[in-house]
Symmetry: C2
Subunit: 226 residues, 2 copies
Amino acid sequence: MAIKDEVTDKYSLRGRVYHKIRGDILEGRYKNNDELRELTIGEELGVSRTPVREAFRQLELEGLIRIVPNKGAYVTGITAKDVKDIYMIRSKLEGLAARWAVSHITEDQMSEMEENIYLTEFHASKGHLDQIATLDNRFHEILYEACGSKLLEHQLREYHEYVQRVRTKTLSDNKRSLASTGEHKLIMEAIKSGDENNAEKAANRHVENAYKNIVKNGLKEAYPDE
Amino acid sequence: MAIKDEVTDKYSLRGRVYHKIRGDILEGRYKNNDELRELTIGEELGVSRTPVREAFRQLELEGLIRIVPNKGAYVTGITAKDVKDIYMIRSKLEGLAARWAVSHITEDQMSEMEENIYLTEFHASKGHLDQIATLDNRFHEILYEACGSKLLEHQLREYHEYVQRVRTKTLSDNKRSLASTGEHKLIMEAIKSGDENNAEKAANRHVENAYKNIVKNGLKEAYPDE
DNA sequence: AGTGATATAATTGTATACAATAATACGATG
DNA sequence: CATCGTATTATTGTATACAATTATATCACT
Protein backbone atom coordinates (compact mmCIF):
# COMPACT_ATOMS: atom_id res chain seq x y z
CA MET A 1 0.00 0.00 0.00
CA ALA A 2 2.58 2.47 1.10
CA ILE A 3 4.42 2.05 -2.18
CA LYS A 4 1.36 1.98 -4.35
CA ASP A 5 0.18 5.34 -3.05
CA GLU A 6 3.50 7.08 -3.48
CA VAL A 7 4.30 6.39 -7.10
CA THR A 8 2.36 5.84 -10.27
CA ASP A 9 1.52 2.25 -10.98
CA LYS A 10 4.44 1.32 -13.18
CA TYR A 11 4.76 -2.11 -11.70
CA SER A 12 2.66 -4.45 -9.65
CA LEU A 13 3.69 -4.94 -6.06
CA ARG A 14 5.34 -8.19 -7.10
CA GLY A 15 7.22 -6.33 -9.82
CA ARG A 16 8.47 -3.76 -7.34
CA VAL A 17 9.65 -6.38 -4.90
CA TYR A 18 11.36 -8.30 -7.66
CA HIS A 19 13.23 -5.30 -9.05
CA LYS A 20 14.12 -4.05 -5.60
CA ILE A 21 15.69 -7.29 -4.41
CA ARG A 22 17.29 -7.95 -7.78
CA GLY A 23 18.87 -4.50 -7.73
CA ASP A 24 20.07 -4.96 -4.17
CA ILE A 25 21.75 -8.22 -5.12
CA LEU A 26 23.31 -6.97 -8.36
CA GLU A 27 24.53 -3.77 -6.71
CA GLY A 28 26.13 -5.80 -3.96
CA ARG A 29 23.98 -4.52 -1.09
CA TYR A 30 23.54 -8.07 0.13
CA LYS A 31 26.36 -10.36 1.11
CA ASN A 32 26.56 -13.88 -0.21
CA ASN A 33 24.39 -16.36 1.72
CA ASP A 34 22.40 -13.62 3.38
CA GLU A 35 19.04 -14.99 4.39
CA LEU A 36 15.93 -13.30 3.03
CA ARG A 37 12.77 -13.61 5.16
CA GLU A 38 9.47 -13.20 3.41
CA LEU A 39 7.85 -11.31 6.26
CA THR A 40 10.81 -8.99 6.85
CA ILE A 41 11.13 -8.03 3.18
CA GLY A 42 7.39 -7.59 2.97
CA GLU A 43 7.33 -5.26 5.96
CA GLU A 44 10.21 -3.21 4.55
CA LEU A 45 8.25 -2.63 1.36
CA GLY A 46 4.84 -2.47 2.98
CA VAL A 47 3.40 -5.53 1.26
CA SER A 48 2.25 -8.97 2.32
CA ARG A 49 4.10 -12.23 1.83
CA THR A 50 2.30 -13.17 -1.39
CA PRO A 51 4.04 -10.80 -3.82
CA VAL A 52 7.32 -11.38 -2.01
CA ARG A 53 7.07 -15.11 -2.55
CA GLU A 54 6.33 -14.68 -6.24
CA ALA A 55 9.36 -12.42 -6.60
CA PHE A 56 11.48 -15.01 -4.75
CA ARG A 57 10.46 -17.71 -7.22
CA GLN A 58 11.61 -15.58 -10.13
CA LEU A 59 14.89 -14.72 -8.49
CA GLU A 60 15.41 -18.41 -7.78
CA LEU A 61 14.91 -19.30 -11.44
CA GLU A 62 17.34 -16.55 -12.38
CA GLY A 63 19.88 -18.05 -10.03
CA LEU A 64 20.23 -14.94 -7.88
CA ILE A 65 18.91 -16.64 -4.76
CA ARG A 66 18.52 -20.26 -3.81
CA ILE A 67 15.49 -21.51 -1.93
CA VAL A 68 15.81 -24.40 0.48
CA PRO A 69 12.35 -25.95 0.92
CA ASN A 70 10.75 -25.15 4.26
CA LYS A 71 13.89 -23.36 5.34
CA GLY A 72 14.54 -20.13 3.59
CA ALA A 73 15.92 -18.07 0.73
CA TYR A 74 19.61 -17.30 0.52
CA VAL A 75 21.42 -14.79 -1.68
CA THR A 76 23.64 -16.36 -4.31
CA GLY A 77 24.88 -13.19 -5.93
CA ILE A 78 27.57 -12.92 -8.56
CA THR A 79 31.16 -13.98 -8.03
CA ALA A 80 34.38 -12.96 -9.75
CA LYS A 81 34.29 -16.28 -11.60
CA ASP A 82 30.77 -15.56 -12.80
CA VAL A 83 31.87 -12.21 -14.17
CA LYS A 84 34.64 -13.90 -16.11
CA ASP A 85 32.29 -16.54 -17.51
CA ILE A 86 29.72 -13.94 -18.44
CA TYR A 87 32.27 -11.92 -20.37
CA MET A 88 33.51 -14.95 -22.28
CA ILE A 89 29.92 -15.95 -23.10
CA ARG A 90 29.03 -12.39 -24.01
CA SER A 91 32.01 -12.23 -26.32
CA LYS A 92 30.59 -15.08 -28.37
CA LEU A 93 27.00 -13.89 -28.22
CA GLU A 94 27.72 -10.25 -29.03
CA GLY A 95 29.67 -11.61 -31.98
CA LEU A 96 26.55 -13.41 -33.13
CA ALA A 97 24.48 -10.29 -32.57
CA ALA A 98 26.86 -8.21 -34.69
CA ARG A 99 26.85 -10.85 -37.43
CA TRP A 100 23.07 -11.00 -37.48
CA ALA A 101 22.73 -7.25 -37.30
CA VAL A 102 24.38 -6.99 -40.72
CA SER A 103 21.25 -8.35 -42.38
CA HIS A 104 18.68 -7.15 -39.84
CA ILE A 105 19.61 -3.63 -38.82
CA THR A 106 17.17 -0.90 -39.87
CA GLU A 107 18.16 2.48 -41.24
CA ASP A 108 17.08 4.19 -38.04
CA GLN A 109 19.15 1.83 -35.93
CA MET A 110 22.17 2.35 -38.18
CA SER A 111 21.83 6.12 -37.90
CA GLU A 112 21.50 5.98 -34.15
CA MET A 113 24.58 3.79 -33.95
CA GLU A 114 26.64 6.26 -35.98
CA GLU A 115 25.34 9.17 -33.96
CA ASN A 116 26.10 7.28 -30.76
CA ILE A 117 29.74 6.89 -31.73
CA TYR A 118 30.04 10.48 -32.87
CA LEU A 119 28.65 11.70 -29.56
CA THR A 120 30.80 9.33 -27.53
CA GLU A 121 33.95 10.63 -29.25
CA PHE A 122 32.96 14.14 -28.29
CA HIS A 123 32.28 13.36 -24.65
CA ALA A 124 35.38 11.18 -24.40
CA SER A 125 37.53 14.09 -25.51
CA LYS A 126 35.93 16.23 -22.82
CA GLY A 127 36.08 13.57 -20.12
CA HIS A 128 32.32 13.52 -19.47
CA LEU A 129 32.14 10.20 -17.65
CA ASP A 130 28.40 10.02 -17.06
CA GLN A 131 27.49 10.64 -20.68
CA ILE A 132 30.09 8.12 -21.84
CA ALA A 133 28.63 5.42 -19.61
CA THR A 134 25.09 6.12 -20.84
CA LEU A 135 26.16 6.12 -24.49
CA ASP A 136 28.18 2.94 -24.02
CA ASN A 137 25.15 1.15 -22.61
CA ARG A 138 23.01 2.46 -25.41
CA PHE A 139 25.45 1.24 -28.07
CA HIS A 140 25.08 -2.31 -26.83
CA GLU A 141 21.32 -1.91 -26.56
CA ILE A 142 21.12 -0.84 -30.20
CA LEU A 143 23.19 -3.84 -31.22
CA TYR A 144 20.88 -6.18 -29.29
CA GLU A 145 17.79 -4.62 -30.82
CA ALA A 146 19.28 -4.82 -34.30
CA CYS A 147 20.23 -8.49 -34.25
CA GLY A 148 16.72 -9.61 -35.16
CA SER A 149 16.45 -12.30 -32.49
CA LYS A 150 14.21 -11.76 -29.49
CA LEU A 151 15.91 -14.69 -27.80
CA LEU A 152 19.47 -13.44 -28.25
CA GLU A 153 18.40 -9.90 -27.43
CA HIS A 154 16.85 -11.02 -24.15
CA GLN A 155 19.81 -13.16 -23.15
CA LEU A 156 22.38 -10.48 -23.89
CA ARG A 157 20.42 -7.86 -22.02
CA GLU A 158 20.30 -10.12 -18.98
CA TYR A 159 24.05 -10.72 -18.97
CA HIS A 160 24.66 -7.05 -19.57
CA GLU A 161 22.62 -6.16 -16.49
CA TYR A 162 24.44 -8.73 -14.39
CA VAL A 163 27.80 -7.05 -14.92
CA GLN A 164 26.51 -3.48 -14.92
CA ARG A 165 28.12 -2.77 -11.57
CA VAL A 166 31.62 -3.62 -12.67
CA ARG A 167 31.17 -1.87 -16.02
CA THR A 168 30.30 1.57 -14.73
CA LYS A 169 33.25 1.31 -12.39
CA THR A 170 35.72 0.42 -15.09
CA LEU A 171 34.60 2.97 -17.70
CA SER A 172 35.88 5.77 -15.51
CA ASP A 173 39.31 4.80 -16.84
CA ASN A 174 39.69 7.43 -19.55
CA LYS A 175 42.17 5.52 -21.67
CA ARG A 176 39.85 2.54 -21.78
CA SER A 177 36.83 4.60 -22.77
CA LEU A 178 38.75 5.98 -25.75
CA ALA A 179 39.81 2.51 -26.86
CA SER A 180 36.29 1.24 -26.28
CA THR A 181 34.83 3.87 -28.57
CA GLY A 182 37.32 2.91 -31.25
CA GLU A 183 36.18 -0.69 -30.97
CA HIS A 184 32.54 0.34 -31.21
CA LYS A 185 33.43 2.19 -34.39
CA LEU A 186 35.00 -0.93 -35.89
CA ILE A 187 31.85 -2.94 -35.14
CA MET A 188 29.63 -0.24 -36.62
CA GLU A 189 31.71 0.08 -39.79
CA ALA A 190 31.78 -3.67 -40.35
CA ILE A 191 27.99 -3.82 -40.00
CA LYS A 192 27.55 -0.84 -42.30
CA SER A 193 29.76 -2.33 -44.97
CA GLY A 194 27.95 -5.66 -44.74
CA ASP A 195 30.97 -7.63 -43.58
CA GLU A 196 29.53 -10.32 -41.31
CA ASN A 197 32.83 -11.99 -40.44
CA ASN A 198 34.51 -8.78 -39.41
CA ALA A 199 31.46 -7.61 -37.50
CA GLU A 200 31.50 -10.80 -35.46
CA LYS A 201 35.23 -10.70 -34.83
CA ALA A 202 35.19 -7.04 -33.86
CA ALA A 203 32.43 -7.68 -31.34
CA ASN A 204 34.27 -10.74 -29.97
CA ARG A 205 37.41 -8.71 -29.41
CA HIS A 206 35.57 -5.73 -27.95
CA VAL A 207 34.06 -7.76 -25.14
CA GLU A 208 37.32 -9.62 -24.52
CA ASN A 209 39.17 -6.32 -24.23
CA ALA A 210 36.55 -4.95 -21.89
CA TYR A 211 37.11 -7.93 -19.62
CA LYS A 212 40.90 -7.56 -19.72
CA ASN A 213 40.46 -3.98 -18.58
CA ILE A 214 38.21 -5.06 -15.74
CA VAL A 215 40.80 -7.52 -14.50
CA LYS A 216 43.47 -4.83 -14.66
CA ASN A 217 41.35 -2.41 -12.64
CA GLY A 218 40.72 -4.86 -9.85
CA LEU A 219 37.83 -7.24 -10.21
CA LYS A 220 38.56 -9.00 -6.96
CA GLU A 221 37.77 -5.98 -4.84
CA ALA A 222 34.28 -5.67 -6.30
CA TYR A 223 33.16 -9.29 -6.17
CA PRO A 224 33.53 -12.20 -3.77
CA ASP A 225 35.89 -14.95 -4.80
CA GLU A 226 33.75 -18.04 -4.57
CA MET B 1 -3.64 -32.82 -2.08
CA ALA B 2 -4.44 -35.38 -4.70
CA ILE B 3 -0.95 -35.18 -6.08
CA LYS B 4 0.82 -35.01 -2.77
CA ASP B 5 -0.73 -38.24 -1.60
CA GLU B 6 0.02 -40.18 -4.74
CA VAL B 7 3.74 -39.75 -5.07
CA THR B 8 6.68 -39.22 -2.78
CA ASP B 9 7.49 -35.63 -2.06
CA LYS B 10 9.99 -34.99 -4.81
CA TYR B 11 8.66 -31.55 -5.54
CA SER B 12 6.48 -29.00 -3.83
CA LEU B 13 3.07 -28.40 -5.32
CA ARG B 14 4.48 -25.33 -7.01
CA GLY B 15 7.28 -27.44 -8.44
CA ARG B 16 4.84 -29.94 -9.86
CA VAL B 17 2.69 -27.29 -11.45
CA TYR B 18 5.75 -25.61 -12.93
CA HIS B 19 7.15 -28.78 -14.46
CA LYS B 20 3.75 -29.91 -15.68
CA ILE B 21 2.95 -26.70 -17.57
CA ARG B 22 6.51 -26.33 -18.80
CA GLY B 23 6.45 -29.85 -20.21
CA ASP B 24 3.09 -29.27 -21.82
CA ILE B 25 4.40 -26.16 -23.56
CA LEU B 26 7.72 -27.69 -24.66
CA GLU B 27 6.03 -30.86 -25.90
CA GLY B 28 3.61 -28.79 -27.93
CA ARG B 29 0.45 -29.76 -26.04
CA TYR B 30 -0.61 -26.13 -25.94
CA LYS B 31 -1.11 -23.97 -28.99
CA ASN B 32 0.43 -20.56 -29.21
CA ASN B 33 -1.56 -17.85 -27.43
CA ASP B 34 -3.61 -20.37 -25.50
CA GLU B 35 -4.90 -18.72 -22.34
CA LEU B 36 -4.02 -20.30 -19.00
CA ARG B 37 -6.47 -19.67 -16.16
CA GLU B 38 -5.15 -20.00 -12.65
CA LEU B 39 -8.28 -21.63 -11.28
CA THR B 40 -8.67 -24.09 -14.16
CA ILE B 41 -5.07 -25.27 -13.99
CA GLY B 42 -5.31 -25.49 -10.23
CA GLU B 43 -8.44 -27.65 -10.41
CA GLU B 44 -6.83 -29.94 -12.98
CA LEU B 45 -3.93 -30.58 -10.64
CA GLY B 46 -5.93 -30.45 -7.43
CA VAL B 47 -4.18 -27.42 -5.96
CA SER B 48 -5.18 -23.86 -5.13
CA ARG B 49 -4.26 -20.75 -7.09
CA THR B 50 -1.23 -19.89 -4.94
CA PRO B 51 1.23 -22.49 -6.25
CA VAL B 52 -0.14 -22.01 -9.77
CA ARG B 53 0.59 -18.30 -9.66
CA GLU B 54 4.14 -18.88 -8.44
CA ALA B 55 4.69 -21.33 -11.29
CA PHE B 56 3.28 -18.79 -13.76
CA ARG B 57 5.77 -16.18 -12.60
CA GLN B 58 8.66 -18.52 -13.27
CA LEU B 59 7.35 -19.48 -16.69
CA GLU B 60 6.94 -15.79 -17.47
CA LEU B 61 10.56 -15.07 -16.59
CA GLU B 62 11.61 -17.99 -18.76
CA GLY B 63 9.65 -16.51 -21.64
CA LEU B 64 7.38 -19.54 -22.09
CA ILE B 65 4.24 -17.58 -21.22
CA ARG B 66 3.51 -13.89 -21.13
CA ILE B 67 1.39 -12.37 -18.42
CA VAL B 68 -0.77 -9.34 -19.18
CA PRO B 69 -1.49 -7.58 -15.89
CA ASN B 70 -5.03 -8.08 -14.66
CA LYS B 71 -5.87 -9.98 -17.83
CA GLY B 72 -4.29 -13.36 -18.07
CA ALA B 73 -1.44 -15.67 -18.98
CA TYR B 74 -0.85 -16.67 -22.58
CA VAL B 75 1.36 -19.41 -23.98
CA THR B 76 4.32 -18.12 -25.96
CA GLY B 77 5.88 -21.44 -26.83
CA ILE B 78 8.74 -21.97 -29.21
CA THR B 79 8.67 -21.09 -32.89
CA ALA B 80 10.69 -22.40 -35.83
CA LYS B 81 12.70 -19.17 -35.71
CA ASP B 82 13.44 -19.75 -32.03
CA VAL B 83 14.74 -23.22 -32.80
CA LYS B 84 17.07 -21.79 -35.40
CA ASP B 85 18.34 -19.09 -33.04
CA ILE B 86 18.81 -21.59 -30.24
CA TYR B 87 20.91 -23.85 -32.44
CA MET B 88 23.11 -21.00 -33.59
CA ILE B 89 23.57 -19.83 -30.01
CA ARG B 90 24.16 -23.37 -28.83
CA SER B 91 26.79 -23.83 -31.51
CA LYS B 92 28.81 -21.01 -29.99
CA LEU B 93 28.20 -21.99 -26.39
CA GLU B 94 28.86 -25.70 -26.82
CA GLY B 95 32.09 -24.62 -28.48
CA LEU B 96 32.97 -22.68 -25.34
CA ALA B 97 32.00 -25.65 -23.19
CA ALA B 98 34.25 -27.98 -25.18
CA ARG B 99 37.12 -25.49 -24.99
CA TRP B 100 36.74 -25.11 -21.24
CA ALA B 101 36.30 -28.84 -20.74
CA VAL B 102 39.86 -29.37 -21.95
CA SER B 103 41.21 -27.92 -18.71
CA HIS B 104 38.35 -28.83 -16.40
CA ILE B 105 37.22 -32.34 -17.26
CA THR B 106 37.80 -34.96 -14.57
CA GLU B 107 39.08 -38.47 -15.20
CA ASP B 108 35.67 -39.93 -14.43
CA GLN B 109 33.96 -37.60 -16.86
CA MET B 110 36.51 -38.41 -19.56
CA SER B 111 35.97 -42.13 -19.06
CA GLU B 112 32.22 -41.77 -19.20
CA MET B 113 32.49 -39.76 -22.38
CA GLU B 114 34.59 -42.46 -24.05
CA GLU B 115 32.27 -45.17 -22.85
CA ASN B 116 29.31 -43.16 -24.08
CA ILE B 117 30.70 -43.03 -27.60
CA TYR B 118 31.66 -46.71 -27.56
CA LEU B 119 28.12 -47.65 -26.53
CA THR B 120 26.53 -45.30 -29.03
CA GLU B 121 28.51 -46.85 -31.87
CA PHE B 122 27.24 -50.26 -30.80
CA HIS B 123 23.58 -49.23 -30.61
CA ALA B 124 23.82 -47.25 -33.83
CA SER B 125 25.00 -50.34 -35.66
CA LYS B 126 22.01 -52.25 -34.29
CA GLY B 127 19.51 -49.45 -34.92
CA HIS B 128 18.45 -49.10 -31.26
CA LEU B 129 16.83 -45.70 -31.48
CA ASP B 130 15.83 -45.25 -27.84
CA GLN B 131 19.27 -46.02 -26.48
CA ILE B 132 20.87 -43.73 -29.06
CA ALA B 133 18.66 -40.83 -28.00
CA THR B 134 19.44 -41.39 -24.31
CA LEU B 135 23.17 -41.66 -24.94
CA ASP B 136 23.14 -38.58 -27.18
CA ASN B 137 21.49 -36.56 -24.45
CA ARG B 138 23.93 -37.87 -21.92
CA PHE B 139 26.93 -36.95 -24.06
CA HIS B 140 25.89 -33.33 -24.04
CA GLU B 141 25.13 -33.50 -20.32
CA ILE B 142 28.67 -34.74 -19.64
CA LEU B 143 30.10 -31.94 -21.72
CA TYR B 144 28.07 -29.36 -19.79
CA GLU B 145 29.14 -30.82 -16.46
CA ALA B 146 32.77 -30.90 -17.54
CA CYS B 147 33.05 -27.29 -18.67
CA GLY B 148 33.63 -26.01 -15.16
CA SER B 149 31.13 -23.18 -15.33
CA LYS B 150 27.85 -23.40 -13.43
CA LEU B 151 26.56 -20.50 -15.48
CA LEU B 152 27.32 -21.98 -18.88
CA GLU B 153 26.17 -25.40 -17.75
CA HIS B 154 22.82 -24.02 -16.65
CA GLN B 155 22.30 -22.01 -19.82
CA LEU B 156 23.16 -24.88 -22.15
CA ARG B 157 20.93 -27.28 -20.28
CA GLU B 158 18.05 -24.85 -20.64
CA TYR B 159 18.50 -24.48 -24.39
CA HIS B 160 18.94 -28.22 -24.72
CA GLU B 161 15.60 -28.81 -23.01
CA TYR B 162 13.89 -26.25 -25.20
CA VAL B 163 14.68 -28.14 -28.39
CA GLN B 164 14.32 -31.62 -26.93
CA ARG B 165 11.14 -32.27 -28.89
CA VAL B 166 12.70 -31.68 -32.28
CA ARG B 167 15.85 -33.57 -31.33
CA THR B 168 14.28 -36.89 -30.44
CA LYS B 169 12.32 -36.65 -33.65
CA THR B 170 15.33 -36.06 -35.83
CA LEU B 171 17.62 -38.67 -34.30
CA SER B 172 15.44 -41.42 -35.70
CA ASP B 173 17.22 -40.71 -38.97
CA ASN B 174 19.79 -43.49 -38.91
CA LYS B 175 22.31 -41.86 -41.20
CA ARG B 176 22.31 -38.76 -39.05
CA SER B 177 22.80 -40.69 -35.83
CA LEU B 178 25.91 -42.34 -37.28
CA ALA B 179 27.32 -38.99 -38.39
CA SER B 180 26.43 -37.49 -35.02
CA THR B 181 28.35 -40.16 -33.17
CA GLY B 182 31.36 -39.49 -35.37
CA GLU B 183 31.17 -35.81 -34.46
CA HIS B 184 30.94 -36.65 -30.77
CA LYS B 185 34.07 -38.71 -31.20
CA LEU B 186 35.92 -35.77 -32.73
CA ILE B 187 34.95 -33.56 -29.81
CA MET B 188 35.98 -36.19 -27.30
CA GLU B 189 39.35 -36.79 -28.96
CA ALA B 190 40.15 -33.09 -29.15
CA ILE B 191 39.36 -32.71 -25.46
CA LYS B 192 41.41 -35.78 -24.58
CA SER B 193 44.41 -34.58 -26.54
CA GLY B 194 44.18 -31.13 -24.93
CA ASP B 195 43.49 -29.28 -28.17
CA GLU B 196 41.24 -26.38 -27.18
CA ASN B 197 40.87 -24.86 -30.62
CA ASN B 198 39.84 -28.10 -32.24
CA ALA B 199 37.51 -29.00 -29.38
CA GLU B 200 35.71 -25.70 -29.83
CA LYS B 201 35.52 -26.00 -33.62
CA ALA B 202 34.33 -29.61 -33.49
CA ALA B 203 31.53 -28.66 -31.08
CA ASN B 204 30.57 -25.65 -33.23
CA ARG B 205 30.27 -27.81 -36.28
CA HIS B 206 28.43 -30.60 -34.50
CA VAL B 207 25.59 -28.34 -33.44
CA GLU B 208 25.46 -26.66 -36.84
CA ASN B 209 25.17 -30.03 -38.55
CA ALA B 210 22.47 -31.13 -36.15
CA TYR B 211 20.48 -28.07 -37.14
CA LYS B 212 20.99 -28.67 -40.87
CA ASN B 213 19.59 -32.14 -40.37
CA ILE B 214 16.58 -30.79 -38.53
CA VAL B 215 15.80 -28.42 -41.37
CA LYS B 216 16.10 -31.26 -43.87
CA ASN B 217 13.73 -33.45 -41.88
CA GLY B 218 11.04 -30.83 -41.71
CA LEU B 219 11.21 -28.30 -38.92
CA LYS B 220 8.16 -26.43 -40.09
CA GLU B 221 5.79 -29.28 -39.40
CA ALA B 222 6.82 -29.47 -35.77
CA TYR B 223 6.76 -25.78 -34.85
CA PRO B 224 4.58 -22.80 -35.65
CA ASP B 225 6.05 -20.25 -38.00
CA GLU B 226 5.75 -17.06 -36.07
C1' DA C 1 28.08 -29.01 33.19
C1' DG C 2 26.67 -31.69 29.34
C1' DT C 3 23.26 -34.28 26.72
C1' DG C 4 18.90 -35.51 25.05
C1' DA C 5 13.76 -35.09 24.90
C1' DT C 6 10.06 -32.26 24.61
C1' DA C 7 7.63 -27.99 24.23
C1' DT C 8 7.58 -23.48 22.11
C1' DA C 9 8.35 -20.24 18.67
C1' DA C 10 9.53 -18.85 14.03
C1' DT C 11 9.24 -19.60 9.20
C1' DT C 12 7.75 -21.45 5.04
C1' DG C 13 3.88 -23.91 2.13
C1' DT C 14 -0.78 -23.79 0.81
C1' DA C 15 -5.61 -22.44 0.86
C1' DT C 16 -8.97 -19.13 1.15
C1' DA C 17 -11.01 -14.43 1.51
C1' DC C 18 -11.34 -10.04 -0.14
C1' DA C 19 -10.15 -6.08 -3.51
C1' DA C 20 -9.35 -4.32 -8.02
C1' DT C 21 -9.57 -4.74 -12.71
C1' DA C 22 -11.23 -6.33 -17.12
C1' DA C 23 -14.78 -8.89 -19.94
C1' DT C 24 -19.52 -9.63 -20.85
C1' DA C 25 -24.49 -9.06 -21.00
C1' DC C 26 -28.22 -6.32 -21.14
C1' DG C 27 -31.14 -2.58 -21.71
C1' DA C 28 -32.06 2.37 -22.74
C1' DT C 29 -31.81 5.68 -26.26
C1' DG C 30 -31.18 7.62 -30.75
C1' DC D 1 -31.12 -1.80 -35.61
C1' DA D 2 -26.92 0.16 -33.87
C1' DT D 3 -24.55 2.22 -30.06
C1' DC D 4 -23.46 3.73 -25.80
C1' DG D 5 -23.62 3.20 -20.80
C1' DT D 6 -24.38 0.50 -16.84
C1' DA D 7 -24.83 -3.75 -14.16
C1' DT D 8 -23.15 -8.25 -13.73
C1' DT D 9 -19.80 -11.69 -13.97
C1' DA D 10 -15.24 -13.60 -14.36
C1' DT D 11 -10.45 -13.21 -13.54
C1' DT D 12 -6.41 -11.58 -11.63
C1' DG D 13 -3.83 -9.09 -7.52
C1' DT D 14 -3.11 -9.00 -2.72
C1' DA D 15 -3.81 -10.04 2.11
C1' DT D 16 -4.73 -13.12 5.60
C1' DA D 17 -5.60 -17.66 7.82
C1' DC D 18 -4.23 -22.12 8.64
C1' DA D 19 -1.02 -26.30 8.12
C1' DA D 20 3.47 -28.28 8.02
C1' DT D 21 8.11 -27.99 8.87
C1' DT D 22 12.23 -26.38 11.01
C1' DA D 23 14.75 -23.80 14.56
C1' DT D 24 15.12 -22.59 19.36
C1' DA D 25 14.54 -22.87 24.25
C1' DT D 26 13.59 -25.24 28.34
C1' DC D 27 14.17 -28.75 31.55
C1' DA D 28 15.04 -33.39 33.31
C1' DC D 29 18.54 -36.65 33.94
C1' DT D 30 23.18 -38.33 34.32
